[in-house]
Symmetry: C2
Subunit: 212 residues, 2 copies
């Protein structure tokens, strides 16, 4: 989501929403406040620090140190934005002000990476979703097609998918109605990475009961 600058420098170019840090707030409170004030985006499903951008010449004039954030909004919410603000596809970005273009690319890379070793993908979807919708979000964020079959099995084995019992109506061209799921967070967060080298003794959840 970008905001078209009205004033110099870089007037009429697109920039990321943000602003100065007040003395009585930390950086996360600040970005949440600014999003709420300026563009009315409050329903963030995930917010994390991306990186500090601090090159001395990143903006004209005195140096400005910026803490960039990665924020995700579920795909079903479409917040009202002011006239000078609009959503852009990360594959077709306009010319951007300052170093904001590199910030966006860094965020895109972070999201793609985290999809592989965390469950952050659920933050992209509404509270109830179909596997196809989740697959589309994964595909868009990763940049390649992922199989719905495989995605469902992988997430199911991790006990992350909980069927709601309901179904979503099929599209205009028909098709079997898709089952609805919700994220089954059994004490875990979407940001928790799953280990690859595990502690010993955690390989076999349940041995064959009794004697073979």
């Amino acid at each position: 989501m970008l905001w078209e600058r009205a004033r110099e420098p870089h007037a009429h170019r697109w920039s990321l929403p943000g602003g100065g840090l007040r003395v009585d707030e930390d950086v996360e409170s600040s970005i949440r406040r600014q999003l709420a004030e300026k563009v009315d985006v409050r329903q963030l499903s995930h917010v994390e620090q991306l990186a500090v951008f601090s090159a001395p010449d990143r903006v004209p004039g005195p140096r400005v140190v910026a803490t960039a954030f990665l924020g995700l909004v579920p795909s079903d919410v479409d917040p009202e934005v002011p006239a000078d603000t609009s959503w852009h596809c990360v594959d077709k970005l306009p010319s951007m002000a300052f170093d904001h273009s590199s910030i966006v690319h860094r965020a895109r890379h972070r999201l793609g990476s985290k999809l592989s070793y965390t469950n952050l993908g659920f933050a992209l979807a509404p509270p109830e979703f179909t596997i196809s919708l989740l697959r589309d979000h994964y595909s868009a964020a990763l940049g390649y097609r992922v199989s719905a079959t495989n995605l469902q099995r992988v997430l199911s084995r991790r006990l992350l998918l909980e069927p709601t019992g309901g179904t979503a109506p099929p599209g205009p061209s028909g098709g079997r109605p898709a089952a609805l799921f919700r994220f089954s967070a059994k004490g875990i967060k979407v940001t928790d990475p799953f280990a690859v080298l595990r502690p010993p003794g955690s390989g076999r959840p349940a041995g064959g009961s009794g004697s073979p």
Copy 2:
């Protein structure tokens, strides 16, 4: 590596090395300069931004925004440090100044997580190392025993271990001399995460050449 504060506030308590940002440097240059100036630590095998700590009351007086870094030094280098500086085990930390204790815990958690989905473990070892040494580093950082057999096979299958041909002399109690390896970086960095949900068609690295 901690530094004992001489002045108030928090005099005589331990704190992380660091200092103010100059106008002509970015934050990474700054922390590298300060480490080089104050404690003569130059041989960092890995440096990454950890997080921004910006709570308004994190230090007495005017608010100070700090960009914390995670820096790794290979286990074979032992840089000379001034009298007021010394290394501490993260399991036995002294009382620390400001919010530096939470910064260290955050760094520890980050390192443990990244060992699971990147090859950052190689940054802990010297350029040439034995599997046992690498296992000890993994065990220390993760907090549980990892098997040398498994570690070697996992890393070998990822084509990350390149034997140097040399061997390390056995310890005082004998034992077979251990083979030496180096990190085989074929165009990859230790920070690159390995994907879990892979792009299609990448399952089989090398098909059987010809007809078996």
